[in-house]
């Protein structure tokens, strides 16, 4: 892997610069180290930093920029006539990339010589045969423009990588020289290095912003792309969800309402399970339980939060679902057709949410000042009266915040609904019907083999955007309520 070697080479240059600068400054200082402004290690670090960081930065930027340049110039080579009616430029470009990978593979396995792979006059059918012989995935007969574009793609890419290696190594060497030249006893090396470290710390802290930016951009761009292919009003107000599978043709109905309804229904069932249990558990733990019970029960309940959601999903699919069918199914009450239903997913999700509600509420109830309780006891109220009439009203905003956070968890939960809630999107009031949710459909639309440019795949991004906005709104609201409440008692 040449990239790895390039990376190691840059590090080696930096390490060399470190050693050289350190020895040099020690030699310049003579016997008396006190003449140095900084410790010798800082002179070395200065040289290493100046050699490695700009070089690696250029490396990363180059790797990000090169595909754009190559795609653009290759894209210009494909005439409009080469793009079929059912195809698009991006599809043809994907084929070009596949063909180029195939050529690489063919050269690597010895099916083709490098010269043959570059021969623009090569016989197309012969090339196709050789590619499939080498085990490359070539969908169909390669056309002349695609072959030429693929060859150009390879040439540009390999030239790009070669230039990149040279440039990166030159920058690393220049940086090393610069750092070494600066190395004199009165150079303020420590200050420079500390500035550099500080810049690195800021860069690390900015990754959080970049992540959010990445999420928003990837959602927004693909959502806009989706709305170009599918009207937004039908997406937001359509009551039918029936995507057609790729290749079979036909128009898809992609209305989000049945999915939102399924999401909210399951979340409500989950909250009906989790809120009373979690709240009462929190009240008992914070007001009644002795230290021993608390030390045992609190971590035990929190184990429920640490279990991966795939475990809950399997629990819903294979344990809770069949159990519910036994009671409510055709042999019992006759309300339930199959194990996957709103009730199954909601119940299991409720179990998962108990510790969320209980630990958050526990913290909030503990934050209520003791003086309020003492006042109530002093008036002759019993403990439960104090809790119901003094502590809970005081903690209410915080508890509402906790419930909102739990609701946002429930809405964004994926594995339990993928396995436990079913795949059919429907608007129904029966909690024993199978329904599906936004998250489950994101998974099913993106894990199929439909092509990324089709509305059936792009709809997942619009669904993701909706999900992101809803959960973000709930979180911001919850944090606002909790923060406002905390300020009251501080």
């Amino acid at each position: 892997m040449p990239l790895l070697w390039l990376f190691l080479l840059v590090l080696a240059i930096a390490a060399g610069a470190f050693v050289f600068a350190r020895t040099r400054v020690l030699a310049l200082s003579g016997q008396d180290r006190r003449t140095l402004h900084s410790l010798p290690i800082y002179y070395g670090s200065n040289a290493a930093m100046k050699s490695a960081i700009p070089a690696l930065l250029v490396l990363v930027l180059w790797l990000l920029a090169q595909p754009f340049y190559v795609n653009n110039s290759v894209s210009g080579m494909i005439p409009d006539s080469a793009i079929g009616d059912s195809s698009s430029r991006s599809l043809v470009l994907a084929e070009v990339r596949r063909a180029a990978d195939g050529l690489d593979l063919a050269v690597a396995t010895g099916q083709m010589t490098e010269a043959a792979a570059r021969d623009t006059q090569a016989d197309i059918s012969d090339v196709t045969d050789r590619l499939s012989e080498a085990g490359a995935i070539v969908t169909s007969q390669i056309t002349q423009p695609v072959l030429n574009a693929a060859q150009q793609y390879r040439v540009l890419n390999s030239a790009g990588y070669r230039i990149m290696s040279v440039v990166v190594l030159l920058i690393a060497a220049a940086g090393a020289l610069w750092g070494i030249r600066e190395t004199k006893p009165d150079f303020r090396a420590r200050n420079v290095v500390e500035q550099g470290v500080r810049a690195l710390l800021i860069a690390a802290a900015s990754i959080a912003i970049l992540t959010t930016l990445g999420i928003v951009l990837s959602l927004v761009f693909n959502t806009i792309e989706f709305f170009r292919l599918y009207p937004a009003s039908e997406f937001f107000f359509g009551t039918n969800w029936a995507p057609s599978f790729s290749g079979r043709g036909g128009a898809s109905d992609l209305g989000i309402l049945p999915l939102l309804w399924g999401t909210f229904y399951i979340s409500i069932v989950a909250l009906i399970v989790a809120v009373p249990i979690g709240l009462f558990a929190a009240i008992y733990l914070s007001e009644y339980a002795g230290p021993k019970v608390r030390a045992f029960a609190k971590p035990m309940l929190e184990v429920l939060a640490g279990i991966p959601t795939i475990v809950y999903g399997l629990f819903a699919l294979l344990t809770v679902g069949p159990l519910l069918v036994q009671v409510f199914g055709d042999d019992g009450l006759g309300w339930m057709q199959a194990g996957t239903a709103v009730m199954t997913a909601g119940l299991v999700m409720g179990i998962m949410l108990i510790p969320f509600v209980s630990s958050l509420s526990d913290d909030i109830i503990n934050a209520v000042p003791q003086a309020m309780r003492d006042g109530s006891y002093g008036l002759g109220a019993t403990q439960s009266e104090t809790i119901r009439q003094v502590v809970l009203p005081a903690a209410l905003p915080g508890i509402v915040g906790a419930i909102l956070l739990a609701a946002s968890r429930a809405i964004g939960e994926t594995m339990i609904v993928v396995l436990g809630a079913g795949a059919a999107a429907r608007l129904s009031l029966n909690p024993f019907d199978a329904m599906t949710t936004v998250t489950a459909k994101i998974v099913s639309q993106l894990t199929g083999d439909s092509d990324f440019a089709s509305p059936e795949a792009l709809v997942a991004f619009a669904l993701g955007m909706t999900l992101f906005v809803i959960t973000l709104g709930l979180n911001v609201l919850a944090l606002y309520i909790v923060r406002k409440y905390r300020e009251q008692y501080e």
Binding site: A205, I215, T382
Partner: protein, 440 residues
């Protein structure tokens, strides 16, 4: 409240007798307390049910019905079988003859036909042929073959398949069960520990018996390496900046808001990010542990940042002041004194963050780590990062989504292994915290 009761009922009797109203209030008190206790009991009950159903359904995945047959192949038999057109068929016939003679040795008279053996054991011929072709020096000496029984036979041994529920099919017929019983009596079919489940790779959709989780454990391992290598330095650097250096300004606020929001973004959205940015935009290989690790890094960062900041905060200011007082720079104070003292807390938080990442499934589905991809062990370190592989939770999902009920057992078994890893990581974190955490 007391005013009202005084008006309506003048106080009579003494403090030692309890009046009706007090009794009612005391009863309400008891009820309320009981509700709380019941709520905790329900929570713990769910935990127990979960644990029991995992163990009960998962432990059978660790055993596998095996047929142990001693088999001697002479050189002549080998040559003869190799010279035939249907080579594996010839081996199969030899094998059946050996099995028959072993049954007769034990004095059991059961008639069976080759088709039944095929239903029980799959294609025995090719297994035997491959063994002897790879080890030609074993020709002529007795060799013990441990052949895995088919998933239905396995299910019959574990009680998943019974004579009543079994429907005759090309996989197994009810009459075959007589043969299975006879072989079991003779000690030829035994239930053995299924090493293949722990070390093996995923199998095709029609072979639940051969499925193993080993390859996806390796996939998870490489993913965790990426997560550790990226999220620990980035998380610690971010925390140091925010706790020790950041000035109070809009940029710092922006970072803080972003971190707290990222902690609450649904994991599936991170999957969309990974798909759009790492695969569509950067053209990183699909289904690669490298991409999975990058996505999980972004998810784990908020957890690590929050715990690192807490442990940096816990280091008393007097340490910083002492260091600054003897002439250390701000940077030296942080890196030479504060960070080492906060290290145990940071490490604990990192392990807990890694454990969370290890159990995460949803984003992995979107970047394609699902389906029949954990087929073979990676060939080296680089291949481990970039070749398609699955991860433990994604492999469990793959099995749960398959139609054959034999895979459900594997999914539960996979969960046991996943939980063992999580438990170990959490216990290490607890031990680290107990042993090294200092309270000032």
């Amino acid at each position: 409240m007391t005013d009202a009761s005084m008006d309506s009922a003048p106080v009579q009797g003494s403090l030692t007798t309890v009046d009706a109203r007090t009794r009612k209030r005391n009863a309400a008190e008891k009820r309320f307390k009981a509700y709380g206790l019941v709520a905790i009991m329900i929570g713990l009950f769910f935990l127990v049910v979960l644990a029991v159903s995992i163990l009960r359904s998962g432990i059978p995945a660790f055993t596998q019905a095996e047929v142990r047959v001693e088999f001697t192949l002479t050189q002549e038999q080998f040559d003869e079988a190799e010279s035939q057109m249907l080579k594996t068929k010839a081996y199969e016939n030899l094998f059946i003859a050996a099995l028959q003679s072993q049954l007769e040795e034990r004095g059991l008279e059961v008639s069976f036909d080759p088709a039944a053996i095929e239903r029980l054991l799959g294609k025995t011929g090719s297994t035997i042929r491959e063994h002897f072709r790879e080890n030609p020096n074993q020709i002529g000496t007795p060799v013990f073959f441990n052949l895995a029984a088919s998933s239905r036979v396995d299910g019959y041994f574990k009680g998943r398949v019974t004579r009543d529920t079994l429907v005759d099919s090309r996989f197994l017929e009810v009459s075959d069960l007589d043969l299975v019983d006879a072989l079991a009596d003779a000690g030829i079919i035994v239930s053995a520990f299924n090493w293949n489940f722990i070390t093996g790779s995923d199998s095709g959709v029609d072979n639940p018996g051969g499925a193993g989780i080993g390859v996806s454990v390796i996939g998870s391992f490489f993913m965790m390496l990426v997560v550790l290598a990226l999220s620990l330095p980035i998380g610690v650097a971010t925390s140091i900046y925010l706790e020790e250096f950041a000035p109070q300004n809009w940029f710092t606020d922006l970072i803080e808001v972003n971190i707290s929001n990222l902690a609450a973004v649904p994991s599936i959205v991170f999957g969309i990010l990974g798909l759009a940015v790492f695969i569509q935009f950067m053209h990183l290989p699909q289904s690669a542990p490298l991409v999975g690790g990058l996505v999980l890094t972004l998810m784990t960062l908020p957890t690590i940042i929050i715990s690192t900041r807490a442990s940096l905060k816990a280091v008393p200011p007097s340490i910083r002041e002492a260091a600054l007082g003897v002439g250390a720079s701000k940077m030296q104070t942080v890196f030479h004194h504060v960070l080492p003292l906060a290290a145990p807390g940071i490490l604990t938080g990192t392990i807990i963050g890694l454990a969370q990442a290890l159990g995460e499934t949803a984003p992995l589905l979107l970047i394609g780590m699902v389906g029949f991809i954990a087929r073979a062990y990676p060939e080296g370190v680089v291949s481990g990062f970039i070749d398609p592989n699955s991860a433990m939770p994604a492999q469990i999902y793959t099995w749960a989504a398959r139609a054959d009920a034999g895979f459900y057992e594997k999914a539960w078994g996979g969960i046991i292994i996943l939980l063992i890893f999580l438990l170990t990581m959490n216990i290490i974190a607890i031990i680290l915290r107990r042993r090294f955490e200092r309270r000032w």
